[in-house]
Symmetry: D2
Subunit: 335 residues, 4 copies
């Protein structure tokens, strides 16, 4: 039985607690948060769980084998380092840290102590993303051509980081998991509409070798929530709409038509899609539940997780480059 402590009981922490509770091989022993009100809520829902405002109590507790960190990004580094130094395995919220240098130190520390360091790239554990990966790896997909994602939210300025560090990180983690190549450059533009707040909308282009391109549109100030990703292959294309309840993943047969014949053009222009459409049923198990179990099994079997610290580091490096490009109004930065 894995003893788990959770630090941070704000928006995401309750999901961690609930899902470690649901994992039959884990036991949540303690929750830490700065707010007594939040801790009272823990006490009411989980009478047997210890609560504290001091993370050090968790690190000192010999029954706690692993710590899950769901606090503001700026605090990830110190909390994770303290946990690792106390010999605890660490699951840390995305993005892994505020800088690539911090992330690198966390990875080193975990490696030196032979501890599991997992970064919570939740989407990697969804049935939809795994189905997409499967489709993309099949020969019938052809060569990957582009990845284009829109991920926009409702008027919420939530973080100590800009919108790319909050939302684009999801796409970057999905891309790292489903694509077989890595960005070699990034161009980003964006803006803040609220004085003294970080950029609330941003547009990233990632350049790859092999004539592949990716684009990510993130925005905290949208009137509607959108989570739509198009993935283009030379033989098939995918539409992934994470808000769709019944058809999250759609796969289209298609071909390119290079033509100037008016009749062909007319037919294509008045058409709404090409080829047949297939929408496989995807695993609907909550991603975080699978992730909690994966984390425990990695600890038990001393294996590297699917989303190790290195995955977190790669994304932070990209975000740093994107920040730099945004300052330079879109000038491409080589990774």
């Amino acid at each position: 039985m894995l003893g788990v402590g959770v630090i941070g009981y704000g928006y995401w922490g309750p999901n961690l607690v609930r899902n470690f509770f649901a994992d039959t091989g884990s036991k949540v022993l303690a929750v830490c948060d700065r707010s007594p009100e939040r801790l009272a809520e823990v006490g009411r829902l989980y009478p047997g769980v210890a609560t504290t405002t001091d993370p050090a109590e968790l690190f000192r507790n010999p029954q706690i084998d692993a710590v899950a960190i769901a606090t503001p990004v700026a605090t990830h580094f110190q909390l994770a380092m303290d946990a690792l130094r106390a010999g605890k395995h660490v699951l840390v919220e995305k993005p892994i840290a505020s800088t690539s240098s911090e992330a690198a130190q966390m990875i080193d520390e975990a490696a030196r102590r032979d501890l599991v360091l997992l970064v919570d790239h939740t989407f990697v554990f969804t049935g939809a993303v795994n189905k997409i990966r499967e489709v993309m790896r099949d020969e019938s997909f052809g060569r990957l051509q582009y990845y284009d994602s829109t991920r926009v939210n409702l008027g919420l300025f939530q973080h100590d980081v800009n919108v790319m560090w909050d939302l684009a990180v999801h796409d970057l983690s999905i891309m790292a998991y489903v694509m077989e190549s890595h960005p070699v450059g990034v161009s980003a533009t964006g803006l803040s509409h609220v004085p003294n707040q970080p950029a609330n909308l941003a547009f990233l282009t990632c350049f790859f070798a092999d004539n592949i391109i990716a684009h990510i549109n993130v925005n905290w100030l949208s009137p509607v929530k959108i989570r739509r990703t198009l993935v283009g292959g030379s033989k098939r294309m995918i539409v992934y709409d994470d808000l769709e309840t019944s058809e999250k993943v759609k796969i289209y047969d298609k071909g390119i038509t290079v033509t100037e014949t008016p009749d062909d053009i007319r037919k294509l222009l008045i058409s709404y899609r090409t080829g047949d459409l297939w929408s496989p049923k995807v695993n609907e198990t909550e991603a975080l539940r699978l992730e909690a179990t994966h984390f425990r099994k990695c600890i038990e079997k001393k294996e590297k997780p699917i989303t190790p610290g290195e995955a977190g580091l790669a994304i932070v490096k990209l975000l740093e480059a994107a920040d730099e490009s945004m300052k330079r109004r879109g000038e491409a930065i080589t990774i």
Copy 2:
């Protein structure tokens, strides 16, 4: 009664003929196309209309007062100049010309001869875009913050121009009509996936003064057709989905929340939208029908059209800057 000649009977030409036919003050007298098959089709549907493969016949015809040009972009300049020199008013397909220098000459020629030169920015004549303009100009909208449009099509390589000159021109023309400021710079990225063909997908960011930003995502290789635009104001936001049959324009009340309170964050994150939604009924008259009538009335009243040559020129200048930026992988080009 305005005598009209149409040059080009490919994809768009038939719509021009049909709509000038429907305008009670106009009469289509002749259609010109290089293809005898296309001209035979004209003869079958419109028995009374003269057909020719030589545009000069139209220019020579004293009964023809105005010429509508729906040919490949590269031919716009020569055809329009010949028409203007023959004293004909000109309606020309978008984009107005292949270069800003050509566009400028067309404008000069029309001005010198006191002829109407209208560029066919069709969306400017839709009920939806006019409703959006009305909403944006109302005080209740607040200050404009962003314009973000996705306009993607089904696997068709259609033109002698790249995807920005084919699709982004629609958004640029809408922006010019609904916004009150003009881009001061542009950053663009994009790619071609078919050897020896122009870029088939592109992402543009337009920078404005006043903390406004615009973004346009265009793609010829999408599995699905998307025509969705978000327009953010400080008090209201608009979603414009041109493929929606019954709710093309939706207007949302909203406010920004700058918060770190977990409860507020949770509520906003699990919510799907903010505030009430209002979807006005918009005028569903075919845009090209209104445009044909507008063109005739401008000729009759000697007035400047809503979409004059100058509107076409401004967009061509932007597209030239975007081409340059795309070559430089996103480096911003000042307009």
Copy 3:
């Protein structure tokens, strides 16, 4: 070349004219309507077509081989009988006639004179309905269990007949085409909300042998247009949404679960669909265009059409039974 005359140039007549024009083997020679304004419109769009307010002119014209009738239902019988007696083939709008006795006489007259009598059940000629028929006839569909259609319209009281005779006739004609058994009884309920007008909303249940049931919900007073049909088979199910632009026909794999296990129940209740989904691309050719050509070919080859007078008669008999049932507040009437 088939000489065609069209009677009635109201809502549907223009579609008939346009589509017979588009059929390369037919030629529209004359159009008849009571309204001079409507005839003026014909003259403007089709300069070569004769116009008249007297249908007898069409019947006398020896160049007219066939007559298409798109007038109010009450006039179908007389016009069709006159046409048949004049030796003309007849295409008549649905429903074929006001009573089954009239329909039977029309069929007899056409048979006696060896003329084609086609009732315009347009949906039978759509790509969607033909795809559905194909799926239902495949063994993988299993046994048919139910057909359930909702066909509701926007606040329009249009006809001299009630809503079943206007809208349910579409479903009854589709059912006759895709199902292999015929209703043995019908129960109908409904109501009129406008004084002195026929019922504007109605609910029909058709009973079949073989444990099959069909249900049709028609309404002229809906706030939104709905055209959604569910077809249940023992192994597969179909959703047909005629307003969907890109996915009109969806086919679902499924199975029935008879269970009281809470876990199974929970899983099914929180799920949004069962099994994989497949949406084939369907032929998008305008149905009336195919129907016009089919009508001409039946005349040329002396063949019975897919939608002969008999198909129209069967539906009128059903509608008469439904009217009777509605009067008796749902009491089933045996066919």
Copy 4:
């Protein structure tokens, strides 16, 4: 603090436990279920709660003031009667009982002992239904004309009752809450497709005085889940789609057009909706949470709940009439 015991921890019971836990004035003291596995789950999630397979233990427990019953319908009567006789307030799952006679006895028993008897008509506590009620009671809605609901599910045979007792009960409870008149008759048709199982699809028409009609379409064998209700008023109409995440309730302005003018007809037929649309934001609080609190407050203040036993009885009477009508193939039964 209200002491609560919950009987039945199958599909719905866990929701009752969770929501009584969340009510700050209630405390779940014990849970009863026949299955030791289900009780083990209770123990794991709620360490402090007593578990038992014997409902009598709850009735004997003096600290338990109220009992919530979420067991199969056939057991409601006996469990509720035993609870009431033991002096416990009762919240009972819908439908309240298997017969109207049982329901009447339960109401009498509760009245005699001055205990609260609440039937769990959950939808009555949703923000959407309360918004609909508010809209319908406003003068701007005009006179109610019809209520038309489709509520279909995915291939699950779940109950000891037929599909009307499982699904139509939701609509009947909503209708009772939002309408101001009561059905005077009912016509129902339906069928079972699985041997020895109750009807799995059914179509009900409810007749009212005042020219109002209601229709309910319920089905356990649909490929997709649908929860769509149209409510027609003489001045406004409502579309309520319970599966819509962001626009559950839409209100349309409209008017009826009685016309035979082809132009009006054409305009209405090619239109997708009439008038402006308004979609108010509705309260998204979980209905069962509000219901749990309402139940407790009724007990504290000795008030009649919004959904008293009488509301349950009225619906059971309707369902009995519908069963009878279904046997007679749609013959209307007077209430």
